[in-house]
């Protein structure tokens, strides 16, 4: 029953518990950081770059990232592409349906702030942070595959930095 939530509490009671806790924390987060399976969620132009990143020249698999089609098995939404107001509830739904711990990378201007469609557009959601909590923002329109990979590595680092309680609460 979510023993891990109480771990910090217990670890204080046992001598050396803190060390065990930190190393456990480190291991678990290391695993999380190194194995990010992303949800195939490309809506627009950025999705093509996402595809390119998965392709031979850049090769996402190198980072241990493979795509899963089902949100239940993925750890990360790579929101690649414009999120319109019509799509926003679906993005939220997908995010909701993911198993925790889960992360979101906003790839490209559209997901950061609406991108080129910020002004004058009646249909584009101006930033997906209104819909889902975003961990990493990657600027670009579309971001180069390298930027995307850099963003993913950034996320890895962020995961490794966080405390147990962070992702337990998320």
């Amino acid at each position: 029953m979510g023993l891990i939530k109480k771990l910090p509490y217990y670890s204080e009671k046992i001598p050396g518990g803190a060390i065990v806790l930190t190393s456990l924390e480190a291991t678990l987060q290391f695993a999380q950081a190194k194995s990010l399976w992303y949800l195939l969620f490309g809506t627009a132009c950025c999705a093509i770059e996402l595809m390119c990143t998965g392709a031979s020249r850049y090769d996402f698999d190198r980072l241990g990232m493979i795509f899963r089609a089902s949100p239940r098995q993925s750890d990360l939404i790579l929101a690649a592409g414009t999120i319109t107001k019509k799509m926003a509830p679906r993005l939220r739904r997908l995010y909701d349906q993911m198993a925790e711990p889960r992360y979101v990378i906003a790839m490209g201007g559209c997901t950061v702030k609406g991108g080129p469609f910020y002004y004058d557009s009646y249909a584009v959601e101006k930033g997906i942070d209104h819909i889902v909590p975003v961990d990493i923002y990657i600027p670009g329109c579309p971001p180069r595959p390298e930027s995307l990979m850099e963003g993913c590595l950034h996320l890895s680092e962020k995961i490794r930095r966080q405390k147990l309680s962070d992702w337990q609460e998320k």
Binding site: S56, K113, G114, G115, P116, L153
Partner: protein, 187 residues
């Protein structure tokens, strides 16, 4: 029967093609350690260029880039000082809106704004993607650039429909010293 054999032959042929690739070397470059060379025209992030010697911004607050920008990502606030010259106060670029089209670079007559070949700028906060002048300057510090040639491509002269402007670019390369900026206080 023949078709089965043929089918098997074809299947094997397909497999040899993929199998052959097993032996080939990967075309992948391993990103964080190795990087693909970026063509120098590559449009990465937008930066503000500063003078190589003095370190001051080349920008003269002429607002051409702001006007050219299709997404209104650039915000410039340059109130005229008491001497009628524009003083660049705020130069803000919203990277989250910018579409990296390069129009601002083309519009700028002073080699002050450029799309540099940099791309690694992921952040954890959305606010970090609104870059102010200093950040833009910082990022653009080491970006190599050529000052605009004296003779510019065709569309420029019309740009502000103001004759003096054609003169300005000539002045631009010389605007090395920071005070020279004042010269460009037009429009």
């Amino acid at each position: 029967m023949l078709s089965i054999v043929k089918g098997i032959v074809e299947l094997v042929r397909g497999m040899t093609i993929t199998g052959k690739h097993l032996g080939k070397h990967a075309v992948t470059l391993q990103y964080p350690e190795e990087k693909w060379p970026m063509p120098e025209r590559s449009r990465g992030i937008v930066v503000l260029l500063s003078d190589k010697e003095t370190g001051a911004l080349n920008c003269t607050a002429c607002m051409l880039c702001m006007r050219a920008c299709p997404t209104a990502a650039i915000t410039i606030d340059a109130p005229r000082g008491e001497d009628k010259k524009r003083q660049l106060k705020v130069f803000q670029l919203d990277v989250g809106i910018c579409c990296f089209c390069g129009l601002c670079e083309e519009a700028c007559n002073f080699s002050a704004i450029k799309l540099a070949t940099k791309y690694e700028f992921s952040t954890e906060n959305k606010e970090d993607l609104v870059w102010d002048m200093h950040k833009l300057q910082e990022v653009g510090r080491d970006v190599p650039y050529e000052a605009r040639p004296k003779k510019k491509p065709a569309p420029k002269p019309e740009s502000q429909s103001q004759p003096p402007q054609t003169v300005n670019p000539v002045a631009a390369p010389e605007s090395e010293s920071s005070e020279d900026e004042k010269k460009e206080g037009e429009a």
